[in-house]
């Protein structure tokens, strides 16, 4: 399968959106484009697994390599392994759901959808890149639309949030580029941006120790590494619904993926050197984020803070440096992406009808919006890690992997992280109880339930969540070989 389709199709969709003449056309093209992306992503999985089953043992499949700047050894090198494929599927699911919930955006519809699709393209490009220069290029493509989406279509203190988000993410990017250049020049005579070449050459330990923090913190900022997480609550809360979904569902995953693929994989000794730091920061993020969530009375802030807590599991999994934990980290990325997108989608549905996001101003909505509330409930159950939904298997895998480190330090970190499951239950049930249960307020008695597009968006995401929760082996088998290669690199095999 030709991976260029993954960039070509969004590009075509984006151009189509720009050329269309009215809102109706914009929506149809965006919908068709994103539906095709999902089909493409599913086809990619199918062909990928078929190749693997047929005995393809190469680390990356469907590779393509074109020289961009031969004098600097910069190449347009793309290819995917199971980890990338699962991230692509996540992206495709979230994009389609995001397009569906944005059906009623009236203000500058064309530009809105254009930016959404552009962001998606950046994400696809990022996940398939095997050249750090190209990867960085796509990372930046995914940042700019966020700034515009929040600044233009946002709500609340949107200018502040947009600035904060863009500046903090730019700081992250600048750290990343320093780290990438460090590897480029630190690779002895043979300067290269190529992930495969760099990993085979093996960067010297001194360079790794120096530049690992740049890359890890840089990417970490994207995925809410404590204490560089404060763009998350403001950014998500000010963004329009689809913007929040993309932000939490896709773009935070760019960071996690980068931490794993670039920082940890290319600099395994650096990762070992700093692993206790990663563990400390991520377990703080998990529990601290959960406690901070308890104090949030705005649904979006609540979900944003809980994202900090949940993304902590991704970094914890990476920091634990065991095969199981790393597999769990990737599963958590997919799971959190779907779950949080669902959460933001349902918050958007509620807000559109009640015109408030304050938890204490709502009540008894179960009576008038049973579908929406059921979706909220499912998102909540997934968030608190109930079996049957993806959150449970992902978090459990991370914990299982963490516990394999038998010393006191790792044990305590794991227990601290584990404690969050109690705190999470507290804030999730409190929110659901306030919003859905109890006596209904008179002003809300006439509200309507979700429309067809919203229902479809929710169902798409729920199918993903339940499929992973009930049959985790589907995702697991995909990720395992990739995680194994990364882990072998770390343990020096």
């Amino acid at each position: 399968m030709n991976l260029l389709l993954l960039i070509g199709l969004p590009l075509l969709t984006a151009v189509g959106v720009l050329l269309s003449r009215n809102t109706q056309q914009v929506r149809s093209i965006a919908f068709a484009g994103s539906a095709l992306q999902l089909i493409l992503a599913l086809a990619l999985i199918y062909f990928f697994q078929k190749e693997r089953a047929a005995g393809a043992v190469a680390q990356m499949l469907f590779e393509q390599n074109y020289a961009l700047f031969p004098s600097l050894n910069i190449n347009f090198h793309i290819g995917v392994d199971g980890i990338a494929v699962s991230m692509i599927l996540l992206t495709a699911l979230v994009v389609l759901a995001g397009v569906l919930v944005s059906w009623n955006v009236e203000k500058m519809t064309k530009e809105f959808y254009f930016l959404l699709i552009l962001l998606a393209m950046g994400a696809y490009g990022f996940f398939i890149s095997l050249d750090l220069f190209v990867l960085f290029f796509f990372l930046e493509i995914a940042v700019i639309p966020k700034y515009l989406l929040i600044g233009t279509w946002g709500s609340g203190k949107k200018e502040y949030s947009a600035n904060k988000l863009a500046l903090m993410l730019m700081t992250g990017s600048s750290l990343v580029i320093v780290g990438i250049l460090g590897m480029y020049f630190g690779n002895g005579e043979h300067k290269s941006f190529d992930i495969i070449q760099l990993s085979q050459a093996g960067i010297s330990p001194a360079v790794q120790k120096l530049f690992f923090p740049f890359l890890f913190i840089g990417f970490g900022i994207f995925t809410a590494l404590f204490p560089f997480h404060t763009w998350v609550p403001d950014g998500h809360s000010s963004a329009p619904t689809a913007g929040s979904m993309f932000l939490a569902g896709i773009s935070m995953k760019l960071g996690g993926y980068g931490c794993l693929r670039v920082a940890t994989y290319l600099m395994p000794q650096g990762a070992q050197e700093y692993s206790s730091w990663i563990i400390v920061l991520s377990s703080i993020a998990i529990l601290y984020g959960a406690f901070a969530t308890m104090m949030q009375w705005d649904l979006k802030y609540m979900n944003a803070y809980s994202s900090i807590s949940h993304c902590g599991f991704v970094l914890l999994g990476i920091g634990m440096l065991t095969k199981t934990a790393i597999t769990g980290a990737v599963m958590q990325m997919v799971s959190h992406g779907l779950m949080t997108a669902l959460f933001f989608a349902v918050i958007g549905m509620i807000y559109e009808r009640t015109h408030t996001r304050q938890i204490n101003e709502m009540g008894g909505l179960m009576k008038v919006m049973p579908f929406t509330m059921t979706v909220l409930f499912i998102a909540g159950l997934c968030s608190l890690g109930l079996p049957g939904f993806s959150g449970f298997v992902a978090e459990m895998t991370v914990f299982m992997g963490s516990w394999q480190n038998a010393d006191a330090f790792h044990r305590i970190a794991t227990i601290i992280a584990c404690m969050s499951i109690v705190v999470t239950a507290v804030y999730i049930l409190r929110a659901i109880g306030q919003v859905a249960m109890g006596p209904i307020k008179e002003t809300y008695a006439g509200l309507s339930d979700a429309s067809w597009n919203e229902k479809l968006a929710a169902i798409i995401l729920i199918i993903g969540i339940v499929a992973i929760g009930v049959a985790p082996f589907l995702l697991n088998d995909l990720i395992k070989p990739g995680a194994e290669i990364i882990m072998n690199k770390i343990s020096g095999k």
Partner: protein
């Protein structure tokens, strides 16, 4: 014959289908159809369970692997069902008692609207499905999935009347307290994985003896924390009395007969781990005994019919843990079974009373219901006698078995246990006498509407009453007849490994055993006579005072928990959010932004465009350079 057991997945499948149909079709299915589907699913499960039970009784057992749930690293966790003596016994209890309660619910919940009626039965079926997963699971992970599933259903059903905020809070409390326990369970599972490289019961138990006592003690204690949550033991028991907010059949099914016994099932299943960790066993015994007596004291002063039964359940569960702690695994499972019969009966009887009294639950407003509700009265009385431990009712045999084993472990256990049993007899007959004897104390309106419940409610009462009376005969102790304890014989394959480790050198002599029995029965009888005599004539109508008030207020445990746990946790959240997050980190981030702006403002001043100041700066710079060169070289 053994391959028939490969179809064991049928048992949980029926309730799952029932859940899906009723859950998805709740807006268009009629009540009759809903009841038919829900009860039919349970009946089908029950019939199949009986079939499997017979097969197991013939000596078959099977580990049925359905698919690989997840495999990471070297570990693979299969989705597997284990069907053997222990799980097949629980299957019978769950589906059998479950079916009766489903049937009862069709009448009890009849006033609900169509959609809510269907929702109720969907939840109930989902609960049975999860519970079956819990007992059938062939490894700790599948057990945990069921464990969490029943917790969710418990939450959903306690908060079934979701418009009432208090009920929601009770549901929330139940879930969160269970979560604390689940944390322990989960950590134990991770530890097991790390130690054994597997979670399957067979592999874990086979290798248990090669592990150090310290590790096993850690694992079993963590598992026990899980059990204290689910099975409402000190310190995590306070959710269960609040859980009475749910509909009464739910209390009977979930909070008496099945879910709350999950902790006992789990420990009985892991018996070899506990036998190898004597410290944990002592902890289990002491916590169980403490809970048994503590909850019994509270039950004495409660005036809500369901609250009395709730504390009684907590107390009886304590006895089961005492049994587990002193190694009487069969006795604990036996008590689970008899308790399922008589406690489900008592709850359903209470439901029948509440139904007749139009949602009145305060026993001070009842009295004299004996004549108006004859079937309810008679069955309730039988249940009370059974729980009080009067021979030959079922409760006598199971409780006696636990107490005898407790005496062997330590006479102190026995003394405290018998004191608790005496209190049990007392509060149960206080409840019985206040509710059914004396004169009616309710309103005229209530008296006018008093009626016996419809057949769908009385039939389950009668069936359960029969079981509560004769259920004990499967476990007749040796002192009465040799080899008459058929339950022990049936369950022996599960507990052989433990029994081989603890070779009993001295059993109690027959005369001691007779004496122990005699004392406990005599004390129970005295308590019964005193309670009936006192409360049939002059029921307690005033609020309790003095020490009684402390009991009526449940030793103020909720208030204490609020002060030492909830409030500090809230303070931590506030500190994290307001101080660290807002002022600390965010203040720093914004500070950088402001700092950069400030610095640029200052730097801008340098570019003033005045040639004079540029020359001044240039000269200054040259002087500095000269000075530096001159001195530093």
């Amino acid at each position: 014959m053994s391959n028939i057991l490969n179809y064991i997945w049928l048992v949980p499948l029926f309730p799952l289908i029932g859940f899906l149909i009723n859950g998805l079709g709740r807006n268009f299915l009629s009540k009759t159809l809903v009841s038919f589907i829900a009860c039919g699913a349970l009946l089908a499960s029950f019939v199949v369970s009986v079939y499997f039970f017979i097969s197991v009784k013939e000596g078959n057992h099977e580990l049925v692997k359905l698919f690989d749930f997840i495999s990471v690293g070297k570990l693979s966790i299969p989705f597997e069902f284990q069907i053997d003596a222990l799980s097949s016994l629980f299957l019978l209890i769950i589906t059998g008692v479950g079916f009766l309660i489903h049937l009862y619910s069709t009448a009890y919940m009849h006033e609900e609207s169509n959609a809510h009626y269907a929702r109720y039965f969907a939840y109930l079926n989902l609960f049975v499905f999860s519970m079956l997963l819990l007992v059938l699971g062939g490894n700790y992970v599948i057990m945990f999935i069921g464990w969490e599933g029943v917790g969710l259903c418990s939450y959903l059903l306690i908060g079934y009347w979701f418009k009432n905020t208090d009920y929601n809070n009770a549901a929330k409390k139940a879930f969160i307290m269970n979560r604390i326990g689940d944390l322990g369970f989960l950590l134990a599972v991770f530890w097991i994985i790390q130690q054994f490289g597997s979670v399957s019961f067979g592999e874990v138990f086979a290798n248990a003896e090669s592990k150090s006592t310290a590790v096993l003690t850690g694992i079993t204690l963590l598992l026990f924390i899980g059990a204290t949550g689910k099975s409402a033991q000190i310190p995590l028991y306070t959710w269960l009395p609040d859980a009475m907010a749910g509909p009464t059949p739910v209390s009977a099914l979930i909070h008496a007969a099945t879910m709350v016994t999950a902790g006992i099932y789990m420990i009985a299943r892991s018996n070899i781990l506990y036998t190898l960790a004597p410290t944990t066993q002592s902890v289990v015994a002491v916590i169980g005994l403490a809970t048994a007596i503590f909850a019994a004291t509270i039950a004495i002063k409660q005036n809500d019919i369901k609250k009395v039964l709730a504390y009684s359940t907590v107390s009886q569960l304590g006895y089961m843990f005492l049994g587990l702690g002193v190694g009487a695994y069969t006795g604990a499972v036996f008590h689970v079974m008899t308790h399922a019969f008589f406690k489900a009966l008592l709850f359903l009887g209470a439901g029948s009373v509440i139904h007749a009294m139009h949602h009145e639950q305060d026993i001070r407003n009842m009295g004299g219901l004996r004549k108006k509700l004859p079937i309810t009265h008679l069955t309730f009385l039988l249940g009370c006698i059974a729980i009080a431990g009067i021979p030959p009712f079922s409760g006598f045999f199971s409780k006696d078995e636990i107490l005898a084993a407790a005496y062997e472990a330590s006479p102190v256990y026995w003394i405290v246990g018998v004191a608790g049993a005496m209190m049990t007899a007392f509060y149960m007959f206080r409840l019985y006498a206040t509710t059914f004897l004396g004169n009616f104390r309710g309103t005229k309106e209530q008296e006018h509407h008093l009626h016996e419940s419809p057949w769908a409610m009385t039939v389950p009462l009668i069936v359960l009453a029969i079981l509560a009376v004769i259920g004990g005969f499967v476990g007749i102790p040796k002192v009465f007849a040799e080899n008459a304890h058929s339950l022990e014989h049936f369950l022996s394959p599960i507990f052989t490994q433990s029994e081989e480790l603890v070779k009993k050198d001295h059993a109690l002599s027959h005369s001691t055993e007779y004496m122990l029995m005699g004392v406990s029965v005599a004390l129970a009888l005295i308590a019964i006579l005193y309670a009936v005599n006192r409360y049939s004539k002059k029921p307690e109508l005033q609020d309790a005072e003095g020490f009684g008030k402390v009991l009526a207020n449940k030793w103020y445990v909720d208030e204490i928990y609020d002060a030492i746990i909830s409030k500090p946790l809230k303070a931590i959240s506030i500190f994290f959010n307001n101080v660290i997050e807002k002022s600390g980190i965010d203040g720093f981030v914004n500070g950088i932004g402001e700092g950069v702006q400030y610095a640029s403002r200052q730097l801008r001043l340098l570019q003033s465009g005045q040639v004079g100041s540029y020359i001044l700066l240039m000269v200054l710079g040259m002087i500095i350079l000269m000075v530096v060169q001159f001195f530093i070289k």
